[in-house]
Subunit: 491 residues, 2 copies
């Protein structure tokens, strides 16, 4: 199997033809959340991006194994290997056992991902569940000579590694510059060099999350878990490693060093990074305190929000930008996405009942090709979506009798549009309020009401007709009278 998919490889800094190592299998590892708070808009982007990648690969016939981790230990409050564990701090603040914090926020993360219609990963390993595997990686790195133990902790020797292998190969940073720019922090003195990073940290007496190791009772460094878990479930050399651009340095740079240091080669062929969501031009992040949680977005309950946004609107908003572009949050952009999604959904509905003409005035083949070309070109979802809106225009024109679509083209279109919209882009075709068993009931009640309204009009009973119009309007229901009868929609 071969598809002309090209992906931008952060490592080579160019687009490269994607060829799986063991076709049709594709191994995909994506860095998951540190579960110490509610997921925010910034989290939605990587998981929607790589959900799209996985869905598109699946559509092309690849068998994807998607591994996304849960960071439940070892992610310290700053990246310089000092400071408190993020989860332990939250647990202390909330007086919970750290694992209660972990499970609470993991459930909330899962709920938000489900609402965004991100398919769950095939394997979702947790850092605390893979301590042994992480110890094994450390032992291999020590054996290669790129790590040293000091006072019960183990550090990766970046300076020594950099003599043999380029540290900074992914992020473009230079060890010399990093050395010059690193402030000495308290407790850093057990490192040979400030650029070195922790593989294992000896736990202080009050530290709850701790495990025995050859060096001390302690816990693994944050970067280590992804090396241990990606290679455990995808092999030492897999296809794609993804994550947000903010993880390139130091996290992914450290992962490369750990892989080269433990098994002699890069962990994967492709490194993919989505760009960030900004808010007034600044990165949105938990540590910056300027984030909007997904729950707040879905409920509208945040001072920066002018309204609530459906999870599907958020998904569409993110898909409408290329994953490598920055995307600035604004109410206007989300409202535009809401309208666009609504148009797209309505056209799918219109398409269902569209009737064929004798001939076609559209070139379906080249249109479909343009959509595939866009997605093959580094997953260019905004271009693909703009072409889909060409299809929306056709559907609406054909519905109004201004465009002919033949039987065979119509059949093709009726299969292709929903496939792209729901299967590949992962957009739910129906807005939330029309879900479930009540949709039929609404329609039934509305049919009755519109029937009574027509009867009133026929009888010139304007009082009743007005009563109905006002009552429906009060419920936010708009009635449109067309030649085929009346239709209705709810705001």
């Amino acid at each position: 199997m071969e598809h002309p998919v090209s992906l931008y490889n952060s490592l080579s800094r160019k687009k490269e033809a994607f060829k799986p190592i063991n076709p049709p299998h594709v191994g995909l590892y994506v860095c998951g959340p540190t579960v110490y708070g509610d997921p925010h808009l910034g989290h939605a982007r990587p998981y929607i991006t790589f959900d799209l990648l996985r869905r598109y690969f699946k559509h092309l016939g690849y068998k994807v194994r998607y591994v996304r981790n849960i960071t439940d230990v070892g992610h310290l409050l700053n990246d310089a290997d000092e400071g408190e564990d993020k989860i332990a701090k939250k647990a202390r603040l909330e007086e919970l056992e750290p694992m209660e914090v972990v499970h609470f926020y993991t459930r909330r993360f899962h709920d938000a991902m489900h609402k965004l219609n991100n398919l769950p990963p095939d394997i979702e390993p947790s850092a605390s569940g893979h301590i042994i595997e992480q110890i094994q990686v450390i032992e291999a790195i020590i054996k290669s000579g790129y790590a040293y133990e000091t006072q019960g902790s183990v550090y990766f020797d970046v300076v020594k590694y950099n003599q043999d292998h380029p540290y900074g190969i992914l992020s473009g940073r230079k060890v010399e510059e990093l050395m010059a720019n690193t402030r000495e922090l308290a407790g850093q003195d057990e490192k040979n060099n400030p650029v070195d990073f922790a593989l294992w940290k000896k736990a202080k007496p009050e530290h709850i999350m701790r495990w025995p190791s050859p060096w001390s009772d302690g816990f693994p460094g944050w970067h280590l878990e992804c090396t241990a878990m990606s290679t455990k479930y995808l092999g030492n050399h897999f296809d794609i490693h993804g994550g947000g651009m903010d993880l390139q340095f130091p996290h992914h740079e450290a992962e490369i060093a750990q892989s080269v240091g433990s098994c002699g080669h890069q962990p994967c062929n492709f490194w993919m990074h989505n760009n960030l969501i900004t808010i007034q031009g600044q990165k949105m992040g938990k540590s910056l305190g300027n984030f909007i949680t997904l729950d707040e977005l879905f409920s509208g309950n945040h001072e920066k929000l002018e309204q609530a946004y459906d999870p599907q609107t958020v998904r569409f908003y993110i898909l409408q930008a290329h994953y490598r572009s920055t995307l600035d949050f604004s109410n206007d952009a989300l409202k535009a996405a809401e309208k666009g999604l609504d148009r797209l959904r309505k056209s799918l509905k219109t398409l269902e009942d569209l009737e064929a003409s004798q001939s076609s005035e559209i070139d379906l083949g080249s249109w479909k090709k343009k959509i595939y070309t866009a997605l093959n070109d580094d997953l260019n979802s905004p271009i693909a979506i703009s072409h889909l809106f060409e299809g929306v225009k056709w559907i609406n024109q054909a519905h109004e009798g201004q465009l002919k679509i033949s039987e065979s083209d119509l059949k093709d279109l009726k299969a292709f549009m929903p496939l792209m919209v729901t299967d590949v882009l992962g957009l739910v075709a129906e807005p939330e309020e029309n879900h479930g068993s009540d949709a039929g009931l609404d329609q039934g009640l509305m049919d009755l009401i519109l029937n009574l309204r027509k009867q009133a009009k026929d009888n010139k009973d304007w009082t009743t007709a007005d009563l109905i119009r006002d009552a429906l309007s009060g419920m936010g229901i708009q009635v449109k009278d067309t030649k085929d009868g009346s239709t209705w929609e709810k705001n």
Copy 2:
């Protein structure tokens, strides 16, 4: 804080007053599923039973930490420590990495629990994520002299243990009888005695799930994980350990031996066991092949099912039997539960709009006391429910003007009924089809229709009134005219 709750302790074989070790905290550990297949009706019972216990304790003001594990390794196909790992076998059959099987069925288990309205446990640890902790327990048992290593595997020395501590204390079995009744199976010869059980098994070369240990690359015995994880998250001595009666032997018996063997005492004060769900008198179990999965129950898609059953019906059916009674599956029993639940829900709805009288003809205080007495008496939910139906009768009689309830009693009743039904019993007050954002829309549309109907009647426009009646009836909507106006309900 002290409540007169008594619970049947399987260990003492009698009801005992429950006193938490560290009030108001209560530590509760319940054996979770082995995730290699869809959860079935038999799984619903323990998780509903202990969800009720937790909800009731929370209602009484206790702070419960509820830990329920996920068995994702080490549960062999027979209890004699031989045979294939259940998950590895499923993975081999489905050609998946074992962890894909684990995460797939964990998600499906969570979905089913959510549908049954079981609150998620506070901590849900997995066996594979606690290998180090299990190794530590083995080391402690070896140190106490109750375990021995042979050919890379470690076994618990039941015979030696039984010389110092009664093995069989929970299940009432005798080691001598067990010895006489145990068949020698292939590969058992590395045990000193056939009653010994595995703490650590050396992995065969083809075994995927394996970890290093002081004895061999291998995996823990099934019984071990619950000892390691319950004590890790609840301490060496906690309040309550629960599970299905089928787990008393060998699983819980082994847990007691492991705890005594590693830290010198019983792990918990109370052992609670729910009885089994039978089908035509036989235990329902995956290994017996006579099970009905929860998904099948919810969809009606099984030859033994005459219809689909709402998850809340299943919950009510289980709560209507005391957890220590056997419960035989039958369509009639589930249909009766459906009807009972419907009556209960309707009364809650009626209660909302009920108006007070000047005086009361009910004794609310002693009625409430009876409900608490039932729940305090070893969680006797069927008795509590039967008293709740006394309340249902009152509500219906008051609604029909045949019973007086005073303002203050009505206020109390309006608070107490939903509290018991939804918070404590965990029953969702509204049937599924009335959930979601459409409920308000339906009500708005129906208000308009009933208004139009009234207007037609007032105008003696019988044609329109009949049209409305017939149309609603066609949608399964029944309108009732009462002195307070018209109400409606959908079949």
